[in-house]
Amino acid sequence: MAKTVMVVDDSASLRQVVGIALRGAGYEVIEGCDGKDALSKLTGQKVHLVISDVNMPNMDGITFVKNLKQMPAYKFTPVIMLTTESQEGKKQEGQAAGAKAWVVKPFLPTQMLAAVSKLVMP
């Protein structure tokens, strides 16, 4: 059964490209355009990995992860956070919230794929 990855970012093009890369490798992908939208789409179904941006409107990535980790179904779901080099402080906040994996923006699709397959094989 294909593993499901959720991609949360306010950039539609980013979701699209990451989606293409991941689907191509055999993952199933669901998308969220910000933290709030993503939470509303997480209704207990199995999600093997969440990729989330930090800077988003409505609900930022860190609040989103905090919320995610409080949902029993997603307590153990690994999270890859997307960051920029200049956000060291955010990174620490995110780690405390439960996001242990970080990928630096900008990245190439192949790099994202590598990061994802480290955590979840397709």
């Binding site: 490209v17 890859i80 920029t84 439960g98 970080w102 480290k118 979840v120």
Partner: protein, 742 residues
């Protein structure tokens, strides 16, 4: 193919973000402390950089990276926001826009020389806002920026042999929390296996407690791995475990490591030393001989009192620091709460669906066809005189009408976005020409058809520039005239009887009637003995080749602008009028139809032909009695409840053959406060009219603005009511003048 689509998304997204960025930057000019605006600007740059990287658009990434850095410093109050910085950031925004547009034109394009020079210039200017040492590589990279714990802290001086083995040796000890953090240790090992060959692997269950004490959510395992890979280096292997760096202790020994390095490894690992030795031999990392050598060195080390756990301590310190930083989550929450309020109204935006414009056009076209086909069906149903069929077709046509309205509603967009573009224009132009001018916008929520919005931008731009250049005076003159030094330009929009009015107003010097007349005489546009109303005189500035400006500036004054404005607006079936008071200001009113596709029409019959007038221009219908017909044979007006109503006989106007019917009707139409009557034979009632443009050949026909198809398949002409009213009024005035001279 799919990626191309994604690139299109990126381009659209970037355009929108840049627009929002500009708006926020302009907002900062008046409110430099607006945290939300700064956040939005940062996010725009951040998103463009992030998404640009995905497409390998290094040019955009490299430039935006620097901008983002500066913005980050602004966000953290390290750099104060001021007019210079805003101006610089606006230029940077333009530059990013330029780069994006070049990608849009040709995705493989390299920036041309000019763009490149601009980029370098802007980067130099940005430098002064950047932190001195923050020279980070903007190129795509996945790195853990956490300092890598180097295990070679204690360098052992003794020489020793190397291990005869070309495998990497990896020691992994996972922390108890690894599973709780969502990481699956096996996933990493599997990933490692993808990069080469796991020659041997031994699982260490040593840390496993008694079953009663065991927590199923904790991980107690460690692994010793011998790994063989071509072209693999230490960083690559470390990279595999980058996400669990904090949740495991990782030791990597390259192939042919020296025996003392193994010694150190055995020292550092928590398990029993003899047992470890066995393990290493078991998993093929060491031979027995090598192990003996290692254990010998180890006892030597113990004498030196080497504390191998030093490096672990510094790791702990890092953790403590992290925890110390986390003392302030309440502060963070408070800040987030404040932002939330401002973001509430943004939620609205996320409910929008993006549709390609041509899909919508296709829908409107189909609805148009459906309206025509529906009319044909109703007509046939009427002929059958079957009441049930009649009933159902009338239900159908009511539904069609509702679908038509909702479909047209889909194309309606608020004019606000078009208006707010002018914030930047007014700001830039006023700096350029050295005048102090502010922009006031009202009626931004007024909706109009998207195709109209698209085409109105250029005429508006012309009018705005014209007002700024010629209308609004310089500050000194304004103060002399007792006006505030700062001039105001006003953009306004509102609905008025089936059309939308867009106003461009200024509080400048107003038009000079005498000067316009003189100029018009000189150009031969009017003759000396003509009497003209103010409106007519002002209207002259829309004639081709008319300009009263003594000096031609690069903004306007060449006299090519205003007639183009009028032509553009007439092409949209709209009209322009101008209102001005000398010394007080000028207002240009553009009146446009609400939609260009389908309207509610009123169907009229004259002889064998049918005509349509827009329903919202029809005031009333009255019968032209036999007595009145006789009476008005010569004159072209009637007395309508005490007012003079000029009228036009459509039969004469369009040279319709045949005699007039026994009964004639007058349809009273109005436009912009003027009324006139159209004399017709038959009133056929309301009709949904799908507007079809006239061919080029008929483009210059006076009094006709388009055509439509009736249910019977016949063509009906749509009357250009404003032109007809003008004609009726003029004709009547001429006759009046004629009879007076007699």
């Amino acid at each position: 193919m799919e990626l191309d689509q994604a690139l299109q998304t990126f381009i659209m997204e970037s355009r929108e973000l840049l627009e929002a960025m500009e708006e926020s930057l302009l907002g900062l000019e008046s409110e430099p402390d607006d945290r939300d605006a700064i956040g939005a600007i940062f996010r725009a740059a951040h998103t463009i950089k992030g998404s640009g990287g995905l497409f390998g658009l290094d040019g955009i990434v490299a430039f935006t990276h620097v901008v983002e850095n500066v913005l980050d410093r602004v966000r953290n109050n390290e750099v104060p926001i001021n007019a210079d910085l805003i101006a610089l950031l606006l230029s940077c925004r333009d530059h990013i826009g330029m780069l994006v547009e070049q990608i849009a034109a040709d995705s493989a394009a390299k920036p041309d020389h000019e763009t490149e020079t601009t980029g370098i210039m802007l980067l130099n200017q940005l430098k002064s806002y950047q932190a001195g040492t923050q020279e980070q590589s903007p190129l795509p990279a996945i790195t853990s920026s956490q300092t890598k714990p180097q295990s070679q802290t204690a360098v052992v001086a003794q020489s020793g042999g190397t291990v005869e083995n070309d495998n990497w040796h990896i020691s992994l000890r996972f922390s108890h929390d690894v599973l709780r953090n969502g990481m699956d240790p096996l996933a990493f090992i599997r990933y490692l296996d993808n990069m080469g060959d796991i020659v041997h692997i031994v699982t260490l269950p040593d840390a496993m407690p008694f079953a009663t004490d065991m927590d199923p959510e904790s991980c107690y395992l460690g692994f010793e791995i011998d790994f063989h890979g071509e072209n693999v280096d230490k960083a690559t292997i470390e990279g595999v475990f980058e996400f669990v760096r904090e949740d495991c202790s990782l030791r990597i020994l390259p192939p042919h490591s020296r025996i003392e390095e193994y010694t150190q490894l055995i020292d550092e690992l928590p398990e029993d030393k003899i047992r470890l030795g066995d393990l290493l031999v078991n998993c093929g990392a060491l031979t027995w001989n090598e192990l003996d050598e290692a254990l010998r060195l180890q006892s030597l080390n113990a004498e030196f009192g080497c504390d191998a756990s030093a490096s672990r301590d510094s790791g702990n310190l890092g953790q403590i620091l992290v925890e110390q930083n986390m003392v302030q989550p309440e502060l963070v929450d408070a800040a987030l709460g404040k932002q939330k309020l401002a973001k509430e109204n943004k939620v609205q935006e996320s409910k929008l669906i993006r549709i390609q414009a041509d899909k919508l056009d296709q829908l409107i076209n189909l609805v148009g066809e459906m309206v025509i086909a529906g009319a044909a069906t109703s007509l046939l149903a009427q002929r059958t005189r079957d009441p049930a069929l009649h009933e159902s077709t009338s239900t159908l046509s009511r539904l069609v009408e509702e679908i038509r309205d909702s479909a047209l509603q889909l194309r309606m967009v608020q004019i606000g976005e078009t208006f707010s573009r002018f914030n930047r224009v007014v700001r830039d132009v006023s700096k350029e020409i050295g005048k102090d001018i502010g922009l006031a916008i009202s009626g931004a929520e007024t909706e109009l058809d998207k195709s109209v919005v698209e085409k109105i931008g250029d005429p508006l731009m012309h009018l705005v520039r014209n007002s700024m250049d010629h209308g609004i005076e310089k500050s000194e003159i304004r103060l002399q005239r007792g006006k505030p030094a700062k001039g105001t330009l006003h953009l306004n929009a509102y609905h008025e009887s089936g059309s939308i009015v867009v106003e461009v107003g200024d509080d400048g010097g107003g038009l000079n009637r005498a000067r316009i007349l003189a100029k018009a005489l000189e150009k031969g546009l009017v003759t000396a003995n003509q009497t003209l109303s103010d409106q007519e005189v002002y209207g002259l500035i829309f004639e081709a080749g008319f300009s009263t400006a003594e000096a031609v500036t690069n903004l306007s004054g060449r006299g090519v602008g205003m007639d183009v404005v009028r032509r553009n607006i007439e092409a949209l079936r709209g009209t322009v009028e101008i209102d001005s008071r000398e010394g007080v200001g000028t207002t240009v009113k553009i009146r446009l139809p609400l939609t260009l596709a389908i309207i509610d029409g009123f169907l009229l019959g004259v002889g064998s032909a049918s005509y349509v007038v827009p329903l919202d221009m029809v005031m009333e219908c009255i019968e032209l009695s036999e007595a009145e017909r006789q009476e008005t044979r010569e004159s072209n007006y009637i007395n309508l409840r005490g007012t003079v109503l000029p009228f036009i006989r459509l039969r004469d106007q369009f040279r319709e053959q045949g005699k007039a019917g026994r009964r004639e009707n007058i349809v009273v139409v109005q436009y912009v406060g003027q009324m006139a009557g159209l004399v017709v034979d038959e009133l056929m009632g309301e009709f949904q009219t799908v507007i079809k443009p006239l061919g080029k050949l008929f483009g210059n026909l006076k009094g006709i603005s388009g055509s439509t198809i009736l249910g019977s398949g016949e063509v009906a002409l749509i009357l250009d009511v404003p032109a007809l009213i003008q004609r009726a009024v003029n004709k009547e005035a001429q006759q009046l003048a004629y009879s007076q001279t007699k």
